[in-house]
């Protein structure tokens, strides 16, 4: 019987001692050891290209609710959420500056366009700029669009640089020996400003709806060509291309009326179709369908933790200068200095840009696709 006691004691010990041990994070190292992230695109990837001059004075720079932790989240832009996930330092704007129109916008003195990338001893590799288009150098907010006799162009007096994606990539290549490397994650996300410029052209009677849709097909084709010939062909082995979300669901498009909304949807589809058809299928490329995700978010908002997918949270017309102090009463922080956590159930900061939570949802989608790809 002694043997039996030994065995039962061992059994009991195994059963009960085994029950110890907490739940832990586990290995948080991404499967690919990235050393940097290079981003090309527009306001949706911009982390502070225009955080100078009057924009900086107002605490702005991101196209969302500005101020780190303003809504209680750790980051603001999706590229920031993603780089933190990849265990990289926070992205910073590769070029900063503004060209404000004298007399319409106060000049502060730090607006001169300046590079902060390898060309200037810096380490910033986010080339995305608000207002940037795929190929055309003049996008929304560019001083070239300002007309002192036309009140509707007053926003352009700010003088956004709007360096197009084509030139952003060329700048990167010129400043980095013409090569990408295998330990970089390269993100490409653009097209929205081509929508706004061409839709505006139709509203102003400068082009027909058919021409506008055709212009988007051309933009999508061009962006795909830049990915193929300028990025993949120059040594990038981890490239993320995010297609255009359904801009027709934004407060901007909804407010423009059903006809404009339908046109915008056609333009988005034309762009995405050309982009997807144009990018070379490659083991080095992940194509993220933000279009489908944006439609699902609008339809099944609760699944994503959203309660409002139509109301901008910012009182400023552009979220570029939106902070916790300029929010609608429904989401304004209860006390000065507190986080505006109520904004974390809203999709939109302004009529086209997401809240930090909206950007986090995009980062989740991209991260999921990277994880499935085996890069994360």
């Amino acid at each position: 019987m002694k043997k039996f006691h030994v065995l039962t004691t061992a059994l009991a010990a195994a059963v009960f001692l085994a029950g110890c041990g907490g739940n832990e994070a586990g290995d948080q190292t991404p499967r690919v050891a990235f050393t940097s992230m290079v981003s090309f695109g527009d306001s949706l990837s911009d982390v502070g290209s225009y955080a100078v001059g009057v924009v900086k004075l107002q605490g702005g720079g991101h196209y969302s609710i500005n101020g780190k932790g303003a809504t209680g989240l750790l980051w603001t832009n999706w590229t920031e959420f993603l780089s933190a996930t990849l265990a990289l330092s926070a992205p910073c704007a590769a070029e900063t500056g503004l060209t404000p129109v004298q007399g319409a916008v106060p000049i502060i003195g730090d607006e001169t366009p300046t590079f902060h990338d390898a060309s200037n001893g810096g380490t910033c590799t986010n080339y995305a700029q608000g207002g940037a288009r795929v190929t055309s150098p003049v996008g929304p907010g560019n001083a070239a669009l300002f007309n002192p006799n036309d009140q509707s162009t007053s926003g352009d007096a700010i003088g956004q640089l709007t360096v197009p994606v084509k030139t952003q990539i060329a700048n990167y290549l010129a400043h980095n020996g013409g090569k990408f490397s295998s330990d970089q994650l390269v993100t490409v996300f653009a097209g929205g400003n081509d929508i706004f410029m061409n839709a505006g052209g139709v509203l102003a009677g400068l082009e027909t709806p058919t021409q506008a849709v055709g212009a988007m097909t051309q933009a999508g084709t061009e962006l795909a060509a830049y990915v193929n010939t300028q990025i993949l062909a120059n040594g990038a082995t981890h490239v993320v291309v995010v297609n255009l979300p359904d801009v027709s669901l934004t407060p901007y498009a909804v407010g423009a009326g059903a006809v404009a909304q339908g046109l915008i949807k056609n333009m988005v589809v034309a762009f995405n179709t050309a982009l997807q058809a144009g990018v070379t299928a490659s083991a080095n490329l992940v194509y993220v369908d933000a279009y489908a995700a944006s439609e699902d978010q609008a339809t099944n908002k609760l699944q994503y933790g959203l309660t409002d997918v139509s109301t901008p949270t910012c009182t400023s017309s552009s979220s570029l200068v939106c902070t916790a102090n300029t929010l609608i009463p429904a989401v304004a922080p209860a006390a000065s200095g507190a986080a505006a956590t109520a904004a974390n159930t809203y999709e939109y900061a302004d009529s086209v840009h997401p809240t930090p939570y909206g950007y986090r949802l995009l980062a989740e989608l991209v991260s999921e696709q990277l994880a499935i790809k085996g890069w994360l």
Partner: protein
């Protein structure tokens, strides 16, 4: 699998030996077994609850470990058995919309079970098939997350952890023992457990999973 093959080889080798003459598995007798058990969950999980990307489900992979039992023969036919052993470590993989992501974490579990068994054939028969049923208590603990899990549940935030749970379930079994001699015997059994659990992530989402594992084991036993 290698260890399992060893166990089966042991069973086969022993079967070649002649049967002992002495009685075994009679009323009032204590028996212990030591062997290898493989648990194969047949998972059907619900989608990860909001806020989450839609369609995210999980699968829980098989795990094997050393197990021990202690059995008391109440009568020549009825016995009560306590089944325990070393913990099992199961890999958790993503399925549904996260199909292809591979391993997103792991979790340990122990699932001690008490069985009421009925043994066929006379007490001294060399082969005694048996059936059994009883409650299973499962404790899930010691989980590990991953970069991938954090990435699509809380990108850029603190690592996501997986909360285990404790559950009660029911197990049924069919088995067969083979008497080698007065003390030693071999045993193999097939078990089916009916059990559900709920995993909660540190980011707040939950998923309910029907586990209903099938287990197979082989062991060597000693009757006192």
């Amino acid at each position: 699998m290698k260890k399992h093959s060893i166990a089966s080889a042991l069973v086969a080798t022993a079967a070649l030996c002649g049967a002992g003459a002495a009685q075994a598995q009679v009323a009032g007798q204590f028996m212990v077994k030591l062997g290898w058990n493989k648990i194969m969950p047949k998972v059907r999980s619900t989608e990860l609850s909001a806020p989450a990307l839609p369609g995210s489900t999980i699968d829980i992979k098989s795990a094997s470990a050393l197990f021990v039992t202690a059995t008391y023969m109440v009568t020549d036919d009825f016995s009560v058995e306590l089944l325990g052993g070393l913990p099992y470590k199961h890999d958790i993989i993503g399925t549904g919309s996260v199909q292809g992501v591979g391993k997103i974490g792991s979790i340990h579990q122990i699932s001690p079970t008490v069985m009421l068994q009925y043994r066929f054939m006379p007490a001294d028969a060399p082969f005694r098939p048996y059936v059994g049923a009883g409650p299973t208590f499962a404790k899930f603990y010691g989980s590990r997350g991953s970069a991938a899990l954090t990435a699509f549940t809380n990108p850029g935030g603190p690592p996501t952890t997986i909360g285990g749970d404790t559950e009660w379930g029911a197990t049924t079994e069919v088995g067969l023992s083979y008497k080698i001699d007065k003390h030693w015997f071999l045993d193999a059994a097939l078990l089916k457990t009916f059990i559900n659990t709920k995993a909660q992530l540190s980011t707040g989402q939950t998923t309910k999973a029907r586990l209903n594992p099938v287990a197979i084991n082989a062991s060597i036993g000693y009757a006192f």
